[in-house]
């Protein structure tokens, strides 16, 4: 019994200290954000590897999620003779939930894990220490551009995901199943509110981008400098990001959609 309590306390303290280190790390990264503008070429390269190269997987997933939504929504709605409401159902579920959440999960798997592995390897091969030896601030040179790139890319990717998903729903609903094209979009516009649905979804995706990038970069920075440590950190990034995104989504949904 005492042993159990001690274990609980130990793991609690461990997580608390990780959280403290992560917060200090975040603070220093945020303070180094001026490097984003000063060294815009580095930022550009990161935007390319984090954002542009995630584009394909996001667009393809969005298309298929939208098509599946169109199909499943139609099957349910047609029973009630309300197949015309398909557009609203597809758009609301994409803009409010699936867009931000699925994009964040894919983003964590596609870009987050790469960030962790890259920074972890930099640490293992002592590139970060070498930079400090040469009076190059790794926060400015390495972390700040990556953080900014992730933070900026996530909302854009989520918006692309939702937009492509709406088109996917259109392809299946209107193209294959014969819902009327006009009522697909008019229903959509009737139910989807700009501020309450679209802007709330964008806010969600901004929060997710912040958290996922933070976790990814910190996991790389905090990784044990061994090959095993890097692999563990990469796994942790994906696992913790996914849990954080889903947990935060619940809280944000509760706060925004009352």
């Amino acid at each position: 019994m005492i042993e159990f309590l001690a274990n609980l306390g130990r793991s609690g303290l461990h997580w608390l200290s990780v959280l403290g280190r992560a917060s200090m790390f975040l603070f220093r990264v945020l303070r180094a954000q001026d490097a984003v503008v000063r060294r815009y070429r580095l930022t550009l390269a990161e935007l390319y590897s984090v954002g542009v190269r995630s584009l394909l997987i996001i667009a393809v997933s969005g298309l298929f999620v939208g098509m599946v939504l169109g199909y499943q929504g139609y099957i349910t709605l047609v029973k009630f003779g309300a197949a015309e409401a398909l557009g609203g159902a597809v758009a609301l579920s994409l803009v409010r939930e699936l867009g931000p959440v699925v994009t964040a999960l894919l983003f964590a798997g596609r870009a987050g894990s790469a960030l962790t592995a890259e920074i972890g390897l930099m640490k293992t091969t002592e590139q970060l220490s070498a930079m400090e030896m040469m009076a190059v601030d790794p926060y400015r040179r390495v972390f700040a551009p990556r953080f900014f790139a992730g933070f900026l890319s996530m909302p854009l990717l989520a918006a692309i995901f939702s937009a492509v998903g709406v088109m996917g729903g259109y392809i299946v609903g209107v193209g294959l199943l014969g819902v009327d094209s006009g009522s697909y979009f008019s229903q959509m516009q009737a139910v989807t509110d700009w501020r309450e649905d679209v802007v709330s979804g964008v806010i969600k995706s901004i929060v997710f981008g912040f958290v996922v990038t933070w976790i990814a970069i910190f996991q790389g920075f905090d990784a044990e400098p061994t090959s095993e440590g890097i692999s563990r950190a990469t796994t942790q990034t994906v696992v913790i990001s996914a849990l954080a995104v889903l947990g935060l989504d619940f809280i944000l949904t509760g706060l925004m959609f009352t």
Partner: protein
Amino acid sequence: MKLRYLEVSVGLFVLLGIAALFYLAIQVSNIAEYRDRDTYEVIAYFDHIGGLKVRAPVTVSGVRIGRVSRIAYDPERFQARVTLAIQSGTDFLPADTQASIFTAGLLGEQYIALEPGGDFESLAQGDEILFTQSALVLENMIGRVLTNFSSD
């Protein structure tokens, strides 16, 4: 050459993201309704509003001219106080206009239908609609039908 490629592709990416946001705003959501911000508010008191919600449509002859902006309970009149925001373009409603709460379809949402009266004065900001008709509550109707049956 390499930098040029990066610049162009990142620029395209950002542009695509913003285009997607615009698409969501214009094609998917109702941002057009935010444009006609200019409205005036009219108050109506109802005995029972049924399932009326904030942002429900306000119509005249089925044409949407505004929306419900606030619903509150008035503790002095013991009635529901509903504030209607009507577009400024529709400033010709007679002062004795009647407001009724109807349901769109059998299971649809509830909305407010205005029926213009014959007064020469028009409704203006802050006016009260005097003639109102409450929402039909299904349970009350069933109850009335049942009492009719039992009294036979």
